[in-house]
Symmetry: C2
Subunit: 155 residues, 2 copies
DNA sequence: TTCATTGCAAAGCGTTTGCAGTCAC
DNA sequence: GTGACTGCAAACGCTTTGCAATGAA
């Protein structure tokens, strides 16, 4: 959840971005932004579309895709491709850089943050003489049961 | 490239895997394996299919997909989802663990290896009490031009 | 012989696109 | 008023699936 006045900041960011880029401030765009920031964490295009439909908001999938594209451009959301299936998104304003652990048995997504990634990034940039714009890091695994814990304790 | 006797090892690994899992050793499966190990690095399903067609081998896309699934199961290839489009694969036998840098302007793929990733993995496992089976790490960036280099030197 | 595997074509599924109507500016 | 944006439906591209024919065991 996000405080009302916090959302108004996000809304302003979006509004400014639209204006600066000569894009129109349509009610659909703001409704989608609000829908995204109203709920927690990850979502995919279809669940967002269905949710808005259920709340009797008149949107089309095309507009959802369109708006998501704009929101990606102004960094208000981040895109993930966890599995091979559909894309997942998460809001990114107010949220510090983090990466993800995917628990493959439960499909649960856990967030973590490790400064060593930034260090690796710096090394990469120096060694290969490149500028890194972004990265994606996912660990895939499962929760330890008692048994598994004992087993891995050996190593 | 891979030496002839090296490939025979891969072939044996595959052959054994098929036998152990009650799968049939069809000529198509071995032809696909060979095609993959004959060329260097990354490929996608369609380019593999077209290549085999051009060499007058009778295969279907369905069989390519099927075989790739089996090869993934026995860890003879690895799957990547670089962009949002089609899946990319690479052979994984004989090749040590590495991650990738995607140069977004040229679509070039560079490999690198950094031991700190293993360290992060260990930390993750301890902190969250999980077992990590695999990870995927991609850096997205661009080659530095002279100008960009000078700019970034400021920071 | 038997049933896993094949090729083919059709279907699936997330995403993109074309277009006539709409509405933000 | 005008052209960017919308909803709708059709198209798209990668992947999966259904099914009759094939061939490995």
């Amino acid at each position: 959840m996000i405080a009302e006045n916090d959302f108004s900041v996000v809304k302003n960011v979006f509004s400014s971005y639209l204006e600066e880029n000569g894009l129109r401030r349509t009610p659909e765009r703001f409704a989608i932004l609000e829908q995204i920031y109203d709920s927690k964490e990850h979502f995919d295009v279809d669940s967002l579309y269905v949710k808005m439909k259920n709340e009797n908001f008149r949107v089309s999938r095309a507009t959802v895709y369109n708006t998501i594209e704009v929101l990606l451009d102004c960094n208000l959301i981040r895109k993930h491709q966890f599995g091979d299936d559909k894309a997942h998104y998460e809001k990114s304003f107010f949220y510090r850089q983090h990466d993800h652990i995917i628990l493959t048995d439960t499909q649960e997504v856990v967030e973590f943050c490790d400064p060593r990634i930034e260090a690796i990034k710096k090394t990469i940039e120096e060694v290969f003489n490149i500028t890194v714009d972004s990265h994606s890091l996912y660990f895939y695994g499962t929760r330890n049961t008692e048994t598994k814990e004992n087993q891995s304790a050996k190593s």
